[in-house]
């Protein structure tokens, strides 16, 4: 039992070490190993999938009018000038 656990850990460490060694320069490519389908571009650098719209910058939904600058209502005259 102990030997099995130790063997599993050794294999895991060896595999991760091998992966680190192979991907030493870290170009961000992904290894694909199943089927003959053409691989889509790497997801982390040139992802084919469009990134989900950020809720803070370029949301798909139209941004609500800012209550402070461009509101629908005409801005009241500045009290300072």
């Amino acid at each position: 039992m102990k030997l099995t656990v130790v063997a599993a850990m050794v294999i895991l460490v060896g595999a991760m070490g091998l992966k680190t060694a192979v991907a030493s320069s870290g170009s961000g490519s992904v290894v694909m190993a199943n089927g003959g389908a053409p691989a889509p571009p790497s997801p982390w650098k040139n992802g084919g999938a469009p990134a989900p719209p950020s809720p803070w910058k370029n949301g798909g939904a139209p941004a609500p009018p800012s209550p402070w600058k461009n509101g629908g209502a005409p801005a009241p005259p500045s009290p300072w000038k």
């Binding site: 192979v22 991907a23 870290g26 290894v31 199943n34 389908a37 053409p38 997801p43 084919g48």
Partner: protein, 232 residues
């Protein structure tokens, strides 16, 4: 959009995957190598679905991207299970199947945990990153396991030709992908050629397994290696 060569290779790969299952059924060994055949069948179904999604949504679509990587992860898990079934066959005579299964479960859990630890700092697309990371890590675990299995086959003097052919082809397959991956990382300028080669490499395993099921009889044995002469 992929060109005609890519589609030709893709179709060839699909035909070879189907051929593996057909040859196994024809030879009456479908159940004996059930996980391997299920993996090939799943791979063929995956190819069909990928084909449909690619045509329906496009090569650079979000749907194709997600389906490709998620299905790849599932197929890698299936390939891992197929590899473990080969381990079980080799260690059956030693009655060590339960240790093999326990070790495989531990390794899968450990790999999943490791993958989670690697991506847990990511801010976005956590699940997708986890799926791709798990697929990558499991792939390398499979690579190491195949060489361990090959060592065990040599040590135990396994002579079942079909089994040896299956394990050898798996080792070559994993090694080819690892080499391709290394080239892409070391020479990013050549990554275009390397990615194109991936499709051709993907055909190797179904071709080798179809050959093993089609041409090598179930009871074929390899000639034992030269016996060591021990002086008395």
């Amino acid at each position: 959009m992929p060109g005609s060569i890519e589609f030709f290779v893709w179709c060839t790969c699909f035909i070879l995957e189907v051929a593996v299952v057909v040859c196994a059924i024809r030879a009456g060994i479908f159940r004996r190598f059930l996980p391997l055949n299920l993996y090939m069948a799943a791979s063929a179904v995956g190819d069909l679905l990928r084909f449909r999604i690619l045509f329906h949504y496009g090569y650079t679509s979000r749907e194709y991207f997600y389906f490709y990587y998620y299905s790849d992860a599932l197929l890698t898990v299936a390939l891992y299970l197929a590899l473990i079934s080969l381990f079980v066959q080799v260690f059956k005579e030693l009655s060590a199947e339960k240790f093999v299964i326990l070790g495989a479960c531990l390794l899968l859990t450990g790999t999943s945990l490791f993958s989670y630890l690697v991506i847990q700092q990511s801010t976005g697309r956590l699940l997708t990153r986890f799926v791709v990371e798990l697929s990558q890590n499991l792939y390398f675990v499979g690579l190491v396991l195949t060489y361990v299995l090959w060592g065990a086959i040599l040590k135990l003097r396994e002579t079942r030709a079909q089994l040896v052919q299956l394990v050898l082809s798996l080792g070559i397959y994993f090694s080819l992908f690892a080499a391709n991956y290394a080239i892409r990382n070391l020479y990013p300028a050549a990554s275009g050629i390397s990615i194109s080669l991936l499709q051709f490499l993907g055909c190797f395993l179904p071709l080798a397994w179809a050959y093993a099921f089609w041409r090598i009889p179930e009871d074929a044995r390899l000639a034992p290696a030269t016996l060591a002469v021990i002086p008395r």
